[in-house]
Amino acid sequence: MTWGVETMSQQKLIYLKFRRNRLAVLGAILLVFFVFCAIFADYLAPYDPFQSDLMNNLAPPSSEHILGTDELGRDLLSRVIHGARISLHLGVISVGTAFVFGVFVGAVAGYYGGLIDQIVMRAVDIVLSFPTMLLAIMIVAVLGPGLTNAMIAVGVSLIPEYARLTRSTFLYLRELDFVQAARMVGASDPRVIFRHILPNSIAPLIVQSTLNIATAILSAAALGFLGLGAQPPLPEWGAMLSKGRVYLMVAPHVTLYPGLAIVLSVLSLNMIGDGLRDALDPRMT
C-alpha cells in the first residue's frame, strides 16, 4: 500500500513547487502574454507597424494611438507588439544555437576528460573572462551589423557558459553507477552520452536556458540600440529606442514603451528561471 505523497512523480512535485512560487507563476503568465502577442501580432496590432504618417508623428498617447506614434508617425503599440515576435524569436534561436554547440563541447570535454578537457576548458575560461556584450560587439564588428549577425553574435557569446555547465555535470555523472553499468554492458560512447548522461543533466541546463534567453534579449536589444543589430525599419525594441532617444525632450513615450516591453519580457523569463531553479533543486523543500 502506498500513500499519495510517495507515489507522486518527480514532474508533479516540480510542478507543485513551481506553482507555489507566486513570482514564478506571474512570470509564466507574463511570458504567455508575450508569446501570444508574438504569434498573433498580425491580428492584435491595430495598425500596420511599417505604415508611416508624417502628419501625425511623435503624437502622444491618445484614444486613436494608445501608446502614441513614433518619429515617422507609425503606431507605437503595433510596433511594440511586432517587436515581441522579433525579440522572442531572436532569444530562442540564439540560445538554441548556443545550447547545441555548448552542450556538445561540454559533453565531450566532461566525458572524455584528459587533454581534450584541459584544452577546451582553458579556451572556455579565456572566452568567459570577456563579458558577453564585448564578445557580441566584436563578432558584429567582423560580420557587419544586422539582425541575423546579431543573433549569431549573441549565440556564439553564450556557448562557453553551456560548455562549462555541461562539463561540470558530466564530470559528476560519468562516475555514477548507472553510467558505469551502461558502459559495462557495452553501450557505445555516443549512446552513453546522449541516452544516459544528457537526460540526467537536463535540469540545470533548462534553468540556465531560461535565464539565457533573458540575457540574449537584453544583449540583442543593446546591439539594436547601438545600431549594430536589427536595422530600421524593423520594429525591434532596441532599435526603436535608439531612434526614439533623439526625441527624448519632446516625446519621451517613444523611448518609454519599447523599453518597458524589454523590461517586462526579460523580467518574466528571470522570474520563471528563478522559480524553476528553486523547484528543480532537491535541497529546497
Binding site: 513570482l23 582553458r122 579556451a123 579565456i126 573572462s129 570577456f130 563579458p131 558577453t132 556584450m133 564585448l134 560587439i137 566584436m138 558584429v140 564588428a141 567582423v142 533573458a214 537584453l218 536589444a221 543593446a222 540600440f225 547601438l226 545600431g227 549594430l228 532596441g238 529606442l241 532617444r245 527624448l248 525632450m249 519621451p252 523611448t255 518609454l256 523599453g259 524589454i262 523590461v263 517586462l264 526579460v266 523580467l267 528571470n270 522570474m271 528563478d274
Partner: protein
C-alpha cells in the same frame, strides 16, 4: 602567498596572448586586404605599401602575428583612419574617463549591493526583504541604456538637476554611473542575501548568539566576513558585465571613453581604433580577473597557495 601571486600573474600571460591573437585575427577575418582596411576610405597606393611593410602583411600568418605583437608591445597600435592620430594617443585621452566611470560604478554598486543584501538577510521575508528583492529582479531585467535614458529624461530634461551628456564635472558622472550600477547592484544584493542566510544558519552563529553577543556583533563581526567569499566571485563576474555595459552607457551619455571609441570606430570602419579599443578591454578584463582572484585568496584563508 607570494608564490601563489607570482603564479597567478604568470597565468595572465597566456590569457593576454590568446586575447591578442583574437584581436589580431579579427581584422584578418574581415573580407578584404587588411592594409586597405587600415588605410581607410581613400587608400593611397604608397600608404598601403607602407602599411604592408610595417605590419609584415606579405609574411605568413604566424610571422604577421609576431610583428603585430612586437608593434603592440612597442606601443604602436597604428594610426586612426578617422582622426589621423596614433591610436595609442587616442586611447590615452579616453582611458581615464572609462576608468573613473567604471570605478565609481563598481564602488557604488558593491557598497549598495552588499548593504541591501545584509539588511534583507537579517529580516528574511519581511516587507523590506521582499521589496528589495523585487526591485533587484527588476534591476537585472532592465537594460542599462534604457535606465540611462529614463534617468536622463527625469533628472536632466524634466528636473534639470544634472547634465545630460558629456564630461567635465563630477555631476557629469552621476547619471552614467547610476545607470551602470543598475545591473551590478541587484546581482550583488541577491548573492549577499543568499550567502548570508546560509551562514546565519550555521553552528558558530548559534554559538555566538548563546554567548550573548549583540545582533550587530553577530552579523557584522561573524557572519559578513564568511558570507562575502561567494560574493567576491560574483562581483568579479558582474564587474566584467559592468565594463561590457559601459560600452553602451558611454554611447547613451556621449561619454568620451573607450566604449564610445569602439562603437564610433565600428561605424567609421576605423579598424586600427577597433583593434586598439578591444585590446584595451582585453587587458582591463585580464587584470580585473587577476585582482578578483587575489582578493579571493586574501579573504579566504582556506585557499591553499600551492
Amino acid at each position: 602567498m607570494l608564490r601563489y601571486v607570482l603564479r597567478r600573474i604568470l597565468m595572465t600571460i597566456p590569457t593576454i596572448l590568446i586575447a591578442s591573437a583574437i584581436v589580431f585575427l579579427m581584422l584578418r577575418f574581415i573580407p578584404g586586404d587588411p592594409a586597405v582596411l587600415m588605410a581607410g576610405e581613400d587608400p593611397n597606393p604608397e600608404v598601403i605599401l607602407a602599411l604592408r611593410r610595417q605590419w609584415g602583411l606579405e609574411e605568413p600568418l604566424p610571422v604577421q602575428y609576431f610583428v603585430f605583437l612586437r608593434n603592440v608591445v612597442q606601443g604602436n597600435l597604428g594610426i586612426s583612419i578617422r582622426s589621423g592620430l596614433p591610436v595609442l594617443y587616442e586611447i590615452s585621452l579616453r582611458l581615464p574617463h572609462t576608468m573613473i566611470l567604471s570605478l565609481v560604478a563598481m564602488v557604488l554598486s558593491t557598497a549598495l549591493g552588499i548593504l541591501v543584501g545584509i539588511v534583507s538577510s537579517t529580516r528574511p521575508y519581511s516587507l523590506v526583504d521582499n521589496a528589495s528583492m523585487f526591485f533587484a529582479l527588476i534591476g537585472v531585467s532592465a537594460p542599462a541604456f534604457w535606465t540611462g535614458l529614463m534617468l536622463m529624461w527625469l533628472f536632466a530634461v524634466k528636473l534639470g538637476w544634472l547634465p545630460a551628456v558629456g564630461v567635465g564635472t563630477p555631476a557629469h558622472l552621476v547619471l552614467p554611473s547610476v545607470a551602470l550600477t543598475g545591473f551590478t547592484t541587484p546581482v550583488l544584493a541577491r548573492q549577499t542575501r543568499s550567502s548570508m542566510l546560509e551562514v546565519l544558519r550555521q553552528d558558530f552563529i548559534r554559538t555566538a548568539r548563546s554567548k550573548g553577543l549583540s545582533e550587530r556583533a553577530i552579523v557584522y563581526g561573524h557572519a559578513v566576513r564568511n558570507a562575502l567569499i561567494p560574493v567576491i566571485t560574483v562581483a568579479g563576474i558582474s564587474f566584467g558585465r559592468l565594463l561590457g555595459g559601459s560600452i553602451v552607457t558611454e554611447t547613451v551619455f556621449a561619454y568620451p571613453g573607450i566604449g564610445k571609441m569602439l562603437i564610433d570606430g565600428i561605424f567609421a570602419r576605423d579598424y586600427p581604433m577597433i583593434q586598439g579599443a578591444v585590446l584595451v578591454y582585453a587587458l582591463i578584463f585580464t587584470f580585473l580577473n587577476l585582482f578578483v582572484d587575489m582578493t579571493y585568496a586574501y579573504v579566504d584563508p582556506r585557499i591553499h597557495y600551492e
